[in-house]
Structure formats: structure tokens, C-alpha cells
């Protein structure tokens, strides 16, 4: 299972499978992370700079 290190809190967690651009929630700090590369597996914090439509 791929292992992810949260770039925000440094927490480590495993995921079953991921897709490019998928959004994951860090189980340690709760921040949303986007998968920006699959090989190597790279995640970044989801940008909050765009004018979004929310709930």
C-alpha cells in the first residue's frame, strides 16, 4: 500500500490506491491533500486560492 507523508504536519498514513488529482484527507491533521504525481507519489495541500463554490 502506498505510504504518504503529509507535507503539512509530517504525519504518515497509508492508502489503498490513489488516482492523479484525487483529494485525500490527512488523518493526522485533517488537511486536504491533492495527489499531484503518481510515480513518484507526491501530494500537495489543496490550493485554496481559487474562487470556489462550496457547501
Amino acid at each position: 500500500m502506498p505510504k504518504i507523508v503529509c507535507p503539512v504536519c509530517g504525519g504518515e498514513f497509508e492508502v489503498e490506491s490513489v488516482e492523479l488529482h484525487e483529494v485525500l484527507e490527512c488523518p493526522v491533521c485533517g488537511v486536504e491533500l491533492e495527489v499531484v504525481s503518481l510515480n513518484p507519489l507526491v501530494v500537495e495541500e489543496v490550493p485554496e486560492v481559487e474562487e470556489d463554490w462550496g457547501e
Binding site: 488529482h21 484525487e22 489543496v46 474562487e51 470556489d52 463554490w53 457547501e55
Partner: protein, 273 residues
């Protein structure tokens, strides 16, 4: 049928939409990295899910110009995605909070004479409750106007104000797709901003008057898939705003309603027209 989904990131909503769309045909996922125009994309319909309102708007226009219908359409996103344009449409059909718009600091400072305090200042675009300001007095109004003056985006200097509605610790978010009421939730929060994106708690809302006002609000635009924000005012329900690029994972979770399926079914219907 080829169903396109344009997107920025794969939130739960996009994953649900993709899964449902696969039951109706071939799904073509189009990330922003994959899109360039002018180019002919072989699609029967495109569901627009880009996070940026302006990217969504332009992508819809470019796809429509090459003959692909989009959900939502360029026109709907333009009209529903701007708080001033949307208010103009809504006010013809449903009760809305009293509002004013002005284009200079000087004219903005006169608005409390008409609306009184507290006021809510809102940017004309955007959501998640960002850049909303509750203005309780003249000092706060001056502060907000001063801050807006130095923001780079000229749209921040279109000053849109609403009367502050003292809500009972919650508001209502409903969903209407293709004229059909889909579901509604209460969004509870101790804060005056109730977006679930800001930590508001969601619970199902099952009320006939909500169904009624939601459908009327949708009729103000007459097409597409809209999320509708409703306040419970002292004299009845008021439509606060509408949202043409909806998030719905919390509403789907607490109501059990398959909102993604409704959206895809509507897109399929649009493709067949």
C-alpha cells in the same frame, strides 16, 4: 453516449459523478491540464466541475461554441455565479434579504442609511463564506471599504451589501436539478457563517415550504442544477443566494439522496435534446 467531466481536483463529488456517469455511457475525465482550445472534443455533454468559477465559465463557453452542451451552461453560471446578477433574477420570483449595490466608497457609506446595521458585505463572486464581513457600525464599514480598496481584483470594489438576517443558528441548503427538487439540509453553526466548508454541521431538512421556495428560485433561472441557500427570517423564508457549481457530499451523506445520479441523469437528458 460520451459524457465529459471537466475538473480541477477529484473531490468526493467528482468521483461520485464519474461512477454514476459510467452507467450511462463512456466517461471522459478532462483535467485542466488536458484542456486546450480551440479543439474539438468528441462529447455529447460535459459536466463542468472546475473549482474556479471563472475557469468553469470559460470552459463552458468554449465547449458550447464547439457544439457540446454543458451542465451547467455558460449562461446559467454567468447569471447564478454572480451575486448581483443572481439577486436580480431571484428577486423577481422569491423573497430575498434587502440588498444594495454601489460602486464607490462614498456611495457605499450611504447604504446604512437605507439598510441599517448590521450589514453583511459580500464579494460578488466566490463561496465557502470567504470574505464575508458582518458590519455592525460605521467604523467597521470604513475598515471593510479600506481593505477592499487595496485588493487587486476590481470585482472587490463592487460593493454588495445585504441586511443581516438573524438566523436561528442554522440555514438551509437545497438542491434543485432540472426543475425537480432533490433534497435539502439544515446547516447548523454557532457562527453566523454556516457553510459546512467552515465546519457547519449538516442535518436533513424535510419541509414543504422549502421545496416550494427552492423550485421558485430555480424557476428564476429556468435551467440547470442549482444549490440554493435559504434563510429562515422573522417573516418567513428568504433566498440568500444560489450556487451553480455545487458541492454536495455532506448533503448526500446525511440525506441518503444520490445527488450525483440526479446530476448525471439531468446531463444525459440535456445531451438528448
Amino acid at each position: 453516449m460520451r459524457i465529459g467531466v471537466t475538473y480541477t481536483i477529484l473531490r468526493k463529488e467528482e468521483l461520485m459523478i464519474r461512477d454514476r456517469a459510467r452507467e450511462y455511457g463512456e466517461v471522459v475525465m478532462l483535467h485542466e491540464d488536458d484542456l486546450t482550445f480551440p479543439k474539438k472534443y468528441d462529447l455529447d455533454v460535459a459536466i463542468i466541475r472546475n473549482i474556479s468559477h471563472y475557469k468553469a465559465l470559460y470552459i463552458a463557453k468554449l465547449l458550447e461554441e464547439q457544439g457540446t452542451p454543458t451542465v451547467n451552461s455558460f449562461n446559467l453560471m454567468l447569471e447564478a455565479g454572480d451575486k448581483v446578477f443572481a439577486t436580480l433574477k431571484l428577486a423577481k420570483k422569491v423573497p430575498v434579504p434587502r440588498w444594495r449595490v454601489s460602486f464607490s466608497e462614498k456611495s457605499a457609506k450611504k447604504i446604512p442609511e437605507e439598510l441599517g446595521y448590521p450589514l453583511v458585505s459580500k464579494p460578488v463572486f466566490g463561496s465557502w463564506g470567504r470574505l464575508l464581513a458582518k458590519i455592525n457600525d460605521e467604523d467597521s464599514l470604513e475598515n471593510v471599504l479600506e481593505h477592499k480598496k487595496w485588493m487587486k481584483n476590481p470585482l472587490y470594489n463592487i460593493h454588495y451589501f445585504q441586511e443581516f438576517i438573524d438566523k436561528p443558528g442554522r440555514d438551509i441548503r437545497s438542491y434543485v436539478i432540472g426543475g425537480e427538487f432533490v433534497t435539502a439540509i439544515y446547516r447548523y453553526s454557532d457562527h453566523w457563517i454556516t457553510n459546512t466548508a467552515r465546519g457547519g454541521r449538516a442535518e436533513p431538512c424535510d419541509r414543504e415550504d422549502v421545496v416550494e421556495i427552492s423550485i421558485k428560485a430555480w424557476e428564476a433561472f429556468g435551467e440547470g442544477a442549482l444549490a440554493i441557500d435559504i434563510f429562515e427570517g422573522k417573516n418567513g423564508l428568504l433566498v440568500n443566494e444560489v450556487n451553480p457549481n455545487m458541492e454536495f457530499k455532506n448533503a448526500a451523506r446525511v440525506t441518503g439522496v444520490d445527488i450525483a445520479r440526479k446530476l448525471v441523469e439531468y446531463a444525459v437528458e440535456v445531451a438528448k435534446r
